[in-house]
């Protein structure tokens, strides 16, 4: 489109610190035209901060950015956009109530003449020229709200082209795309590459990196940790570079030797679920949870995994069956308030689990805030804080202090805050619904270690996961759900991927 594209971009010794953390330490990178560069690293490795600096969202403390050997300064997203940086965030910057052409040409509106009539013919023509090149099926006059997610992404890419970008940064672009849309995105990136754009591609998914990237920068703890060409490397090497010494921690080193014996020692049943049916669709599910075991719940999307948990906790009305828990006086029905016995870590920690704008402290104590209250109902601050600090240390949560907003923590640390909330009171049973969803390998390893520690302490865990390896590695027993019914119960040594998949698809 325009031939004034920058040929190279260099970042030199970029430093950035936030209160209490040095987010970037002397990071240097170089990107050249017609190249797809992937930047990998765990959550919190500094990728986003670096990209935010390149995108003008945040400002560096020191270091230089060169565009074709000219130093540049970005004070705002607008500055960096003018220089040709387009940052396509995971959440698309798209206006659903405008047309495709208005979205694509949004940056071209003349803001000095903003009360003059827009020349919609010219706008549509320019937009249609770009769309013809990359995706002719989208028309300039289409309403964006009628488009699929993949198409909306293309609209945003078109805007980058219309704005005269030299460099396009993709942050986890495939996270909400269908398989087919992913393929067209890869094709589009190839096309952009051949047109001379610099592409930066950030993702957790190795297969995508090996599919489309040419070169990889690895970041660890805010610093450069390696630079490799895709054709010279493999996933193992990449994981090693990313994790440093983390890799051995994954699944606790060798496979699952932790507590099989312990479980057999105390083969006592802790929780009985009898013929449970709920308004949510669960039909006639019965199982037992033993003391000190990890019970895996496996099933495909829509098999009733989360619904089962909601039924057990009476978050959805039960239509039939009972849930009984062992107490000193034998088995009794579950009390109305499940928090007495359960620690529940819901599937969507950001929506259901956390109060994002509140400090870590109150996020931890809220689970049973009444326990912290004196007779008049006032919170005993000292006790609240000391408990929270203890839990923070126990779970090794990385934060500045407990008054920090949860929002500012990385995904793994947020997950730990939810777990800490319940851990303060040592519940009998932990229910973890997809606890490692969206976490990187390092944070996953931490959660796995935590699960093992919980069991060592005598707590039982019900683990739901959409990651089949995780279920197999972590569980002592696995119940398999299909179509809201329990189809089988497997012991750890009976379970492998094939049998689990077959049961969950209802083939056996």
């Amino acid at each position: 489109m325009n031939d004034k594209k920058h040929k190279s971009i260099r970042l030199e010794n970029i430093n950035k610190s936030f209160p209490g953390v040095q987010a970037l330490k002397n990071v240097s990178m170089e990107f050249t035209a017609s190249e797809v560069i992937s930047i990998v690293g765990q959550n919190g490795a500094g990728k986003s901060t670096l990209m935010d600096i390149l995108g003008g969202v945040k400002q560096k403390d020191s270091g230089e950015i060169y565009f074709d050997d000219q130093p540049v300064q970005f004070k705002s997203p607008r500055d960096s956009m003018k220089k040709g940086v387009s940052y396509i965030h995971q959440e698309l910057a798209i206006f659903n109530n405008l047309t495709v052409a208005e979205n694509v040409m949004f940056n071209e509106f003349d803001r000095n003449k903003s009360l003059f009539f827009l020349n919609s013919k010219k706008i549509n023509a320019k937009c249609s020229k770009i769309l013809k090149m990359i995706e002719p099926s989208i028309k300039p006059n289409d309403k964006v709200e009628d488009l699929a997610v993949g198409q909306k992404q293309i609209v945003e890419i078109s805007r980058a082209i219309a704005t005269g970008a030299s460099i396009i940064i993709f942050d986890e672009p495939t996270s909400s795309l269908t398989l087919k849309e992913k393929e067209s995105l890869y094709a589009l990136i190839k096309l952009l590459k051949s047109e001379g754009y610099i592409i930066i591609y950030i993702t957790h998914h190795f297969e995508e990196i090996f599919r489309i990237a040419d070169r990889i920068y690895v970041m660890r703890d805010g610093a450069n940790a390696g630079e490799v060409k895709v054709k010279d490397t493999n996933t193992k090497e990449l994981a090693k570079l990313m994790l440093g010494d983390y890799v051995t921690k994954m699944y606790g080193g060798e496979d699952h030797s932790h507590n099989i014996d312990a479980v057999q020692d105390s083969d006592e049943v802790l929780l009985k679920v009898n013929e449970l049916s709920s308004t949510n669709g669960i039909e006639n599910v019965s199982f037992r949870l033993k003391q000190r075991e990890v019970l895996g719940v496996w099933g495909l999307m829509g098999s009733g995994r989360t619904e089962l948990i909601r039924g057990i906790l009476k978050l959805d009305p039960i239509t039939n069956g009972t849930v009984e828990i062992k107490t000193k006086n034998g088995f009794v029905g579950l009390p109305k308030n499940f928090t007495k016995n359960f620690g529940y870590v819901p599937e969507n920690r950001r929506e259901e689990g956390l109060f994002l704008d509140s400090p870590v402290l109150s996020n931890m104590s809220i689970g049973r805030i009444k326990k912290f209250a004196n007779k008049l109902g006032f919170i005993k601050k000292v006790q609240e804080k000391s408990k929270a600090i203890t839990a923070t240390k126990e779970l090794d949560i990385k934060l500045v202090n407990v008054h920090q907003k949860v929002n500012t923590l990385s995904g793994g640390n947020q997950q730990k805050v939810v777990i800490a909330r319940w851990l303060i009171f040592k519940p009998d049973i932990f229910i973890l619904d997809d606890p490692t969803k969206g976490l990187d390998i390092g944070a996953k390893a931490d959660v796995y270690k935590l699960v093992k520690d919980l069991v060592e302490e005598g707590i039982s865990v019900i683990l739901i996961s959409s990651d089949i390896d995780e279920i197999i590695h972590m569980s002592d027993r696995i119940i398999v759900l299909a179509n809201n019914k329990l189809v089988n119960t497997l012991d750890h040594n009976q379970a492998n991927k094939e049998t689990l998949m077959e049961y969950s698809m209802g083939n056996k």
Binding site: V57, P77, A93, F95, N96, D110, F117, L118
Partner: protein, 321 residues
């Protein structure tokens, strides 16, 4: 096959009804009053009805901009009252009428600017700021006006209401003009597109370099100016500035806009025809109910019901979007 076809047709009809519920209600109300009373559908009554719409129509234009940008201004009634009080105080003290009107418009604009500054620079939520101005503003107005038991409007001004082109009073023509200009700005200019963009996704607009603060400041200032203009039009109609002048305008006007399809959630709506039809529907209800002899004490209930249903429909639409 046949049943499937008829099922589809009934589904289409249902869809049509759901999508056009507002227009259907509008036509229904109009037809009902026309049948119930011969007086309703006369030229003189309809012409009067539009006259009653005029100040609301103007008021709603400024508000629509604010609401489409996903914000609120509930101070408009108070702004009209205070700015009018300032203008009328000047006029009653012997200053020329034009000076009084200019003073009114300037003061209204200033109050809108004040709203905007506090909202964008001190980062106080619009709802709270404009609520404060609503309460304090009425207080200031009372000091200027109610203390003296109200201020009569000079006859030169009230005579303006007699001017007519065809069946349209001059206020109605001003209303059409204001609304038409508003609609054109909203749909044909970069400014308007930016207002829609902010209403849909403020963060994204900011990332794309839109100066949200200045845009909002401008929108609240505009809303203040328009509110005082509506006040000027209204005062010439009633001929007397009294303590309950423009009382409750804010909620009536917001309801009218929402009924006319300006979404409370921002990002959607039109001034013409949308907001105008919302205004006409509410005024028509009050006018028609009076003509067919329903007690005025029942009016708020019926209008309230319509407003409630409209807002309900808006949130349903928003949910299934």
């Amino acid at each position: 096959m046949n049943t499937k076809l008829s099922h589809n047709t009934s589904k289409t009809i249902l869809n049509f009804i759901v999508n056009n519920i507002f227009y259907l209600v509008f036509i229904g109300v109009f037809v009902y009053f026309s049948v119930a009373s011969s007086k309703f559908c006369s030229v003189s009554n309809l012409s009067n009805l539009l006259l009653q719409c005029s100040y609301y129509g103007i008021l709603v234009t400024g508000l629509s901009f604010v609401i489409i940008s996903s914000d609120f201004d509930i101070s408009v009634g108070a702004v009209a009252y205070v700015s009018m009080s300032v203008g009328m105080t000047a006029i009653s003290a012997g200053y020329p009428i034009t000076i009084g009107i200019v003073l009114t418009l300037m003061f209204g604009t200033l109050m809108g600017f004040f709203n905007g500054i506090v909202i964008t620079r001190l980062k106080v939520p619009a709802f709270i700021v404009t609520l404060g101005v609503l309460i304090a503003g009425r207080g200031i107005g009372h000091l200027l006006v109610a203390e003296r038991g109200g201020i009569p409007v000079p006859t030169v001004m009230t005579q303006f209401t007699r001017f007519k082109i065809g069946p349209f009073y001059y206020e109605v023509i001003i209303m059409f003009l204001v609304m038409a200009i508003g609609q054109i700005i909203l749909t044909k200019t970069a400014f308007g597109k930016t207002v829609f963009a902010i209403g849909d996704n403020e963060k994204s607009a900011e990332h794309l370099g839109v100066n949200i603060k200045n845009m909002k400041l401008l929108l609240f200032t505009l809303s203040g100016f328009i509110a005082s203009l509506a006040g000027v039009i209204y005062v010439t109609q009633i001929g007397y500035l009294h303590a309950s002048f423009a009382d409750g305008w804010e909620f009536t006007a917001i309801s009218m806009a929402v009924i006319g399809g300006v979404s409370l959630f921002g990002g959607r709506g039109t001034i013409l025809p949308g907001a105008l039809l919302g205004v006409v529907l509410i005024v028509m209800l009050q006018n028609g109910l009076t003509i067919i002899g329903i007690s005025p004490y029942v009016h708020p209930f019926i209008t309230g019901l319509v407003i409630f249903l409209a807002i309900l429909a808006d949130s349903f639409k928003n949910r299934y979007r």
